[in-house]
Amino acid sequence: MKGHGRIIEYALSTLARRKFKNFSVAAVFSVLIAVLSSILFLMHAYKTETLKLLDNSPEIILQNMSGGRHELIPTEYIGTLSGIAGVGQITPRYWGYYYDSLTSANYTLMAFDETMRDVKPIDGRMPAADGECAVGRGVADLRQVGIKDDIFLTLGTEQNVNLKIVGTFTANSAILTNDLVVLTKADLIKFFNMPADKATDITIEVNNPAEVSMVARKIRRTFPDSRPILKNELLRTYDNIFNWRGGIVLIMFFGAIAAFMIFVWDKATGINAEERQEIGILKAIGWETSDVLQLKFWEGVVVSLSSFLTGLILAYMHVFYFHAQFLAPVLKGWSVLFPKFEPMPYIDIYQIFVLFFLTVVPYVAACVVPSWKAAISDPDSVMR
């Protein structure tokens, strides 16, 4: 162990002697690691945030299908649904999208119902009477309105509503509520001109989580034209989507990893006469080839570890302090009214592991042969 300590000490001094060359490798390496780890950190943050949100979503969402497209669902289904064993609370939901030509943005309009009592925190209150509404932060900012102001939505001469804002959702729930306008059921039905006996979809609670897929199967048998969407499937799908996006972006950087390997190979191969002489002297004073290889190994450890840590710190700052400004549009998707999203700082060992494989392994692979070539140089031929 003592021997290793001495070799590390010597490795540090050789690295310090060739500051510029080693610094350039470490800088490039750090940037590469920073980019890759930003992708992983951000993807993880999005994934946890989305999955956390979905935790509160109902076990089954039932949609009606017509011609392979999502259709309004008859509310008379509810009677039949409540007859299925194991089914808990059934709630019809009324909602839709509204394109606001004034601000060129899409809003989500949703009718207030009892299940939304939990949607907090808000300033003010939820709409209680017709003509009232609560809006998300994004909508309020875009239309430059606040509580007690009016907001006018129109789909033509017949379908329009003038709503008084009685509440706004605060930034804490931005990812859910940013583009949301909550109004009363009557207002929404009037605005979208929906038939009285139809809803947008139906949410179904299932008392025993183990029975969810059985209940879904029964629903599908009873209403062959419907599409039950399970919470678990939503979770899996989002998980997969974020994995996929992150993976694709990572693959785009494989070229960069390859380029870096070539760069390292080149730097490590191109040792100059001075370095060669140094190794020659070391061997002349009794170092063995394996000692020189060990020296090279420790040099590699120092460079890759310090770049690894620098890269991680850069990525941490980029993602968690600067909200991943360079990467967010790619991983998040885009929209005029996209919520401002502050990722929760979190790093786990798994991510470090993955990063290690993606960066340090290629680095080491690129270094092996050049450092061996340096280590076997003959003392008498290089000192001559």
Partner: protein, 370 residues
């Protein structure tokens, strides 16, 4: 195919490792053909230098293989979310039939690489490289295994299909009833405990017997090697059969991977680390026995075998302590066929299959009468 960062990292790592191994095999074959220690030609000098390169590459390959074993388990655990019915890495491995063979190959490669390093270490201690041909033939022999592992791993990840929502209807209904089994069958707790402690006692007795005399008899050494191997298999089965349920304090949870997680204080790492380490050193001490015939390395082997045996004993004792700890100190009691829930409740007598969900419900309801 799942574009998961962990999957990409594993595949990239494996390809790089394979390329490095192939490169060193080419060098190894050249060394096997041209090696002649008695000559002092330029060619022989070059070959001698190349042995260093092969050794360095193999050390890295070895390091990556160990890490990739853990990364593989970690990744399998992370992607379980994507499969219906999967609850941990076990479910992900079941999701594609090739999953378990990949894991087993990774473990086999781990042992093969460790033994190669052991042989290489002994060879480097001698002045005349007596084991050069042998170790490079060995290297050439394990390369196909590494190639196979890389291929199977790719095949495994390519064959995974996440159960996601499809446009027509939920995927659940399109392949009705096909879900992933997420538990492992296991032997009854008390039987497993008897077998484990008896095997452990034999293993430690054999290893200690090796240390009694200055040079142990070759036969004893080979027997201890076999016993190390058996101990490894029995230990893995015991982790599934009883160590896991004591750590999880749940009578139906037999997953050998969850103990690597944070909620169990990463206890899986010292547990598996000490087991793998102990077995590797035990095996290495036995495998190097035939080389004792070579005069130039006999003293070195004597010394090293003793050291490896000592390390093996220490690590195996550490492993047994970690495995036994919860059996003695946890609230959870499961012995004599009487399984009791962690806090109070009625013990349920009877011969329930350990992975039966009904039993779990019984424990939860505390009302089941056998």
């Amino acid at each position: 195919m799942i574009f998961h960062p962990g999957v990409l990292a594993l595949v990239t790592g494996s390809v790089i490792v394979l390329v490095m191994t192939l490169f060193s095999v080419i060098l190894a074959l050249r060394i096997i053909i041209g090696w002649d220690i008695t000559k002092s030609t330029a060619r022989q000098l070059i070959l001698e230098r190349q042995t260093y390169l092969v050794a360095v590459i193999m050390k890295y390959v070895m390091g990556f293989q160990i890490l990739s074993l853990f990364l593989f388990i970690y990744t399998a655990d992370d992607i379980h979310q994507l499969f219906v019915g999967a609850m941990c890495a076990t479910g992900s491995l079941n999701a594609n039939p090739i999953g378990w063979p990949v894991l087993f190959t990774k473990i086999v490669i781990f042992f093969l690489c460790c033994l190669w390093l052991a042989i290489n270490h002994i060879d480097e201690l001698a002045e005349d490289y007596p084991l050069v041909r042998f170790k490079y033939k060995y290297l050439a022999a394990i390369t196909p295994v590494i190639a196979l592992e890389t291929y199977w791993q790719l095949d495994y990840f390519l064959g995974l299909r996440a159960n996601v929502i499809t446009s027509c209807c939920s995927s659940l209904f399109s392949d009705e009833g096909v879900t992933v089994a997420s538990s492992l069958a296991s032997v009854p707790v008390d039987t497993a405990m008897y077998i484990f402690y008896i095997t452990a006692a034999i293993e430690i007795a054999l290893l200690s017997a090796l240390l009694l005399k200055k040079t142990a008899s070759p036969r004893l050494r080979y027997i201890s090697g076999v016993s190390s191997f058996i101990f490894f298999i029995v230990s893995i089965m015991s982790i599934i059969a009883f160590v896991s349920i004591y750590y999880y304090e749940t009578p139906v949870h037999h997953c050998p991977f969850d103990i690597l997680q944070r909620q169990y204080m990463f206890i899986g790492y010292p547990l598996y680390g000490s087991l793998f380490g102990g077995v590797v050193f035990g095996l290495a001490a036995a495998v190097t026995e035939p080389f004792r015939k070579i005069a130039s390395i006999r003293p070195a082997i004597d010394h090293i075998q003793r050291r490896w045996t000592k390390i093996s004993i220490v690590l195996i004792i550490v492993f047994i302590i970690i495995a036994t700890w919860p059996v003695i100190f946890s609230n959870f009691k499961a012995y004599d066929g009487v399984l009791k829930p962690p806090t109070g409740g009625t013990g349920v007598k009877g011969d329930y299959p350990p992975s039966s969900l009904i039993f779990y419900c019984c424990v939860k309801e505390k009302s089941c009468v056998s």
